[in-house]
């Protein structure tokens, strides 16, 4: 059976063809404005290089930074209605209260607070008021808003009110897309609501983008199902990502790290992914990216997604090199996508790290005569500086004195020396398309995060109940039941409460069906 992994980045679209654990081909192609033609080109070339019959491809996995970029650049975001079920509580901090002004403006800053919401134990704060919801629906309709996020207090404890409110609003708003916060986030209303609103604002873009993926695959002649990778390296079905695009946030670094792990066969390592402008350094623990322990901002908006702990430095293939000796600087400025016109070896006037790499004989491309004037001492000084930058970044992510390897991936990884500090560097085969490989090996997951009452049941019974729930979610999302394993589990008794309430967070993963 054959699988195709695709990574749609800001600059390049990469594709790989895999048969089981074997990589048959890997290609890079420029990302195009319409997304589609870049995917078509990459996939067609990857299939041709591998000599694979497209009828035998069983699945395509796509990783994309498209939605993260939309939020970061405040582009393609739809005007969104935010409805919070909370009154009389929670009025003091309305939806989007802590968002940067430009993104709040980009989604329109339309919000309503209504009666509803739960206490921690499932009691109602107040009942839903259908008349109130009808009035809100009319206002949403009059504003011409066609995507709405609904967030109820303690909806991870019970999602009933969010559903009922959606049904009521839909009576007046039959063509509106609804995002329910309980389907997206964990406890912490502001972070969950933020994710729900961002998700709602991305729904239209998601439909277009996922549609473009589908059309691209159809054009290539692929009829198999396709999946999109999530922030933790697991896969979502196309229908799912169409509804929950926000869950793709941070999938880029995750894919490159998991791809690096797969290509090298190492499960504990530091991954150095060198792109055109920046280098992302992350740590692999047992084959998975180590998650960040604090809340993570996406485009200035606070979220509590599990994201990989990544340290970025301004060093890439297009990084600008200036000065000599004492005044030598390497980055953080970069020529970016203009590398192929601005770098010396490509006939430009800017000294970049790519020129240095060619001068040092680390790489062979462009016009070498353009850098014949570069002095040996200068080249060595720049090399030493690059090594120092990489060593500092790797040391920052390193957590043990054990000599775990450094995995160098990404198009710019020729800049990484053979040792970073005392750690050996491994450059796995197909290192430049590690992201696409990471997408191709994505797993299916199921997650539970809510409060369980331990009145009348033991902690073990509650954990088992949570695990069953997560397993069912994973199976529903397309995982092979027999391959499902526990990935992470945590239970937190609710502080200060005499009741026996405990919050269980649990995630299982399994291999994809078929």
């Amino acid at each position: 059976m054959f699988r195709i992994g695709v990574d749609v980045g800001g600059t390049n679209t990469d594709a790989v063809v895999m048969q089981g654990d074997k990589i048959l081909s890997g290609v890079k192609s420029p990302t195009t404005e319409d997304v589609m033609s870049g995917v078509v080109d990459a996939v067609e070339r990857a299939l041709a290089d591998a000599g694979t019959d497209k009828a035998k491809v069983t699945a395509v996995m796509i990783g994309t930074t498209h939605f993260t970029n939309a939020v970061v650049e405040r582009k393609h975001l739809a005007r969104t209605g935010a409805v919070r079920l909370c009154l009389p509580a929670a009025q003091c901090l309305p939806p989007m209260v802590d968002w940067p002004n430009d993104i709040r403006d980009a989604v329109g800053n339309h919000f309503w607070m209504a009666k509803g919401g739960y206490e921690f134990d499932g009691r109602e704060i107040s009942a839903l008021d259908m008349e109130e919801l009808n009035r809100i629906a009319v206002q949403i309709r009059d504003e011409g808003i066609d995507t709405v996020a609904i967030t109820s207090v303690f909806s991870p404890v019970s999602d009933k009110m969010e559903r009922e409110a959606m049904e009521q609003l839909a009576k007046t708003l039959p063509d509106v897309d609804f995002t329910l916060s309980s389907e997206i986030g964990r406890l912490g209303i502001l972070e969950r609501e933020n994710a729900a609103i961002m998700n709602a604002s991305l729904r239209a873009l998601s439909e277009r983008t996922v549609g473009a993926f589908g059309r691209a695959l159809t054009k290539v002649g692929l009829t198999c199902p396709y999946y999109i990778t999530q922030n933790d390296g697991t896969l979502m079905s196309r229908d799912f990502v169409q509804s929950y695009p926000v869950l793709t946030f941070a999938s880029g670094p995750t894919n490159s790290m998991r791809g690096a792990a797969f290509l090298s066969g190492k499960s504990d390592a530091i991954v150095v992914d060198v792109g055109g402008t920046t280098t992302d350094v992350g740590a692999l623990v047992k084959g998975f990216p180590r998650p960040a322990s604090t809340t993570v901002d996406v485009g200035g908006v606070r979220t509590n997604f599990r994201m990989p702990d990544v340290f970025a430095i301004g060093l890439g293939g297009g990084t600008i090199v200036e000065g000599t000796g004492e005044t030598l600087t390497v980055g953080p400025r970069s020529v970016g996508y203009k590398l192929t016109t601005d770098a010396l070896i490509f006939g430009g006037n800017t000294l970049t790290t790519s020129d240095i790499a060619v001068g040092l004989g680390l790489a062979d491309f462009g016009d070498k005569s353009a850098i014949a004037d570069l002095k040996h001492d200068h080249l060595q000084a720049v090399r030493a500086r690059i090594n120092e930058m990489l060593t500092n970044a790797v040391e920052r992510m390193r957590v043990s004195p054990d000599p775990i390897p450094v995995l160098a991936v990404g198009g710019g990884s020729i800049l990484v020396p053979d040792h970073v500090g005392d750690l050996p560097v491994i450059r796995p085969e197909h290192f430049s398309v590690a992201n696409a490989v990471g997408a191709a090996i994505g797993q299916i997951s199921g997650e539970v995060d809510r409060i369980f009452s331990l009145d009348g049941k033991t902690r073990e019974e509650a954990l088992a109940e949570a695990r069953t729930e997560a397993t069912n979610k994973a199976i529903a999302a397309g995982a092979k039941p027999e391959s499902i394993e526990l990935l992470d589990q945590e239970d937190v008794p609710l502080a200060y409460l005499p009741g026996n309430a405990t919050r269980i967070r649990l995630k299982v993963v399994g291999d994809m069906n078929g």
């Binding site: 003091c92 704060i125 322990s293 340290f311 920052r396 004195p401 200060y496 409460l497």
Partner: protein
């Protein structure tokens, strides 16, 4: 240390960060309180900070606070006027208006909520608190050592319920108020320990808001410079790095309405091969090495910081795989007295260790 005279909107990030640090793992994430204070300051202007000695002896001084589960507060945000309602209810019982307010604890949400209340009520806030850190129960304040009664006390919720309590002693206040808190949905806003300026001068721990703001500034500026704040915090606060490692187990259980438990941390770098165990009841209370020797004991402060960023980590969010610094600080000298140790020493929490100051326990360092 710089003394603060006024709290502006721009100070709130530092106050929240410093409050998270002094929360010693408990007290909840002060982020919500920070947003509330920022809004109140936007609407009503900055908050004046008073030295306790500048209070008139007959002034009425009242701390306001959130009581209950920090998790609840992260989900059920306040309506906004609960704390003011609690304050107004207490004033009605007393027949007197408050002249200043202060923080019952210097940590977590309760280091930021009183600033929001002060801004809204247009009252000054006193540069001091009742704990010098965070503790889990309401009788665990310096005021109890000076025989100041928590009652009359008022509690308010978002539905408009306001309840006044009168109890025989502060431990009873804790027991009754805890029950009401649960009925209010797990968290309520409270105003209590009404006292005169003269009493405040005697009883409260001084300079807490300045300390919080300074700690926040240190953490923020060290992070901005890509340095771990632990070294500067150690130098400036007479604190110490006790351990560095990776959390390999968190065993939590619910006992008597509290999160009690123990975290195991396995050493990294120069601590490779060693272990540290942290015992907690909402807040971190006892740090022991792998031989069972205490390295820090309540009421001294035990803080957990992210190994890379120095960001404070709460007991509730701490999880498997976190890479952390265990950081210790000496507590206010008032807690090291016989009465202080009866209230918040290791035996109150059921630990066998005899209290010894953190400086003595770590002499070899």
């Amino acid at each position: 240390m710089e003394t603060i005279k006024i709290i502006t909107r721009d100070d709130m990030a530092d106050v929240a960060l410093g409050g998270a640090f002094l929360g010693t793992g408990g007290g909840g994430d002060p982020y919500i309180g920070r947003l509330m204070a920022e809004q109140a300051i936007d609407a009503n202007g900055s908050v004046q900070v008073l030295n306790v000695d500048d209070l008139a002896d007959d002034a009425l001084v009242v701390p306001v606070a959130m009581m209950g589960a920090p998790t609840v507060m992260l989900e059920k945000l306040p309506r906004g006027d609960e704390a003011i309602n609690a304050l107004r209810s207490l004033e009605a019982v007393l027949g007197k208006k408050a002249d200043a307010i202060f923080c019952i604890e210097a940590g977590g949400l309760n280091s930021t909520i009183p600033i929001a209340v002060a801004a809204t009520a247009r009252l000054p806030i006193v540069d001091g608190d009742g704990m010098g850190r965070a503790f889990p129960e309401l009788q665990m304040v310096s005021m109890t050592m000076f025989d100041i009664h928590a009652c009359p006390m008022a509690m308010a919720d978002e539905k408009g319920n306001a309840i006044a309590l009168n109890t025989v002693d502060n431990l009873s206040t804790e027991k009754f108020a805890r029950v009401i808190t649960v009925e209010m949905g797990g968290a309520g806003l409270i105003a209590l320990y009404p006292m005169t300026g003269a009493q405040a001068k005697q009883a409260i721990l001084r300079g807490s808001l300045s300390l919080i703001a300074n700690i926040g500034r240190i953490i923020g500026s060290e992070q901005a410079a890509n340095r771990n704040p632990a070294d500067k915090l150690a130098a400036d606060l007479k604190g110490m790095r006790l351990f560095e490692g990776r959390v390999t187990d968190v065993d939590r259980r619910t006992e008597g309405g509290f999160a009690r438990g123990r975290a195991t941390i396995e050493g990294l770098e120069s601590y490779q091969g060693q272990k540290m165990f942290l015992n907690f009841q909402n807040e971190f209370l006892l740090a022991e090495d792998e031989h069972g020797r205490p390295r820090a004991i309540t009421p001294d402060l035990i803080c957990l910081l992210d190994l890379e960023t120095g960001q404070p980590i709460t007991t509730e969010t701490m999880g498997y795989g976190f890479r952390v610094i265990v950081f210790g600080l000496p507590c206010d000298p008032k807690w090291r007295t016989k009465h202080g140790l009866e209230l918040v020493g290791p035996s109150y929490f059921g630990y066998e260790a005899q209290y010894k100051p953190i400086e003595i326990l770590n002499l070899q360092n």
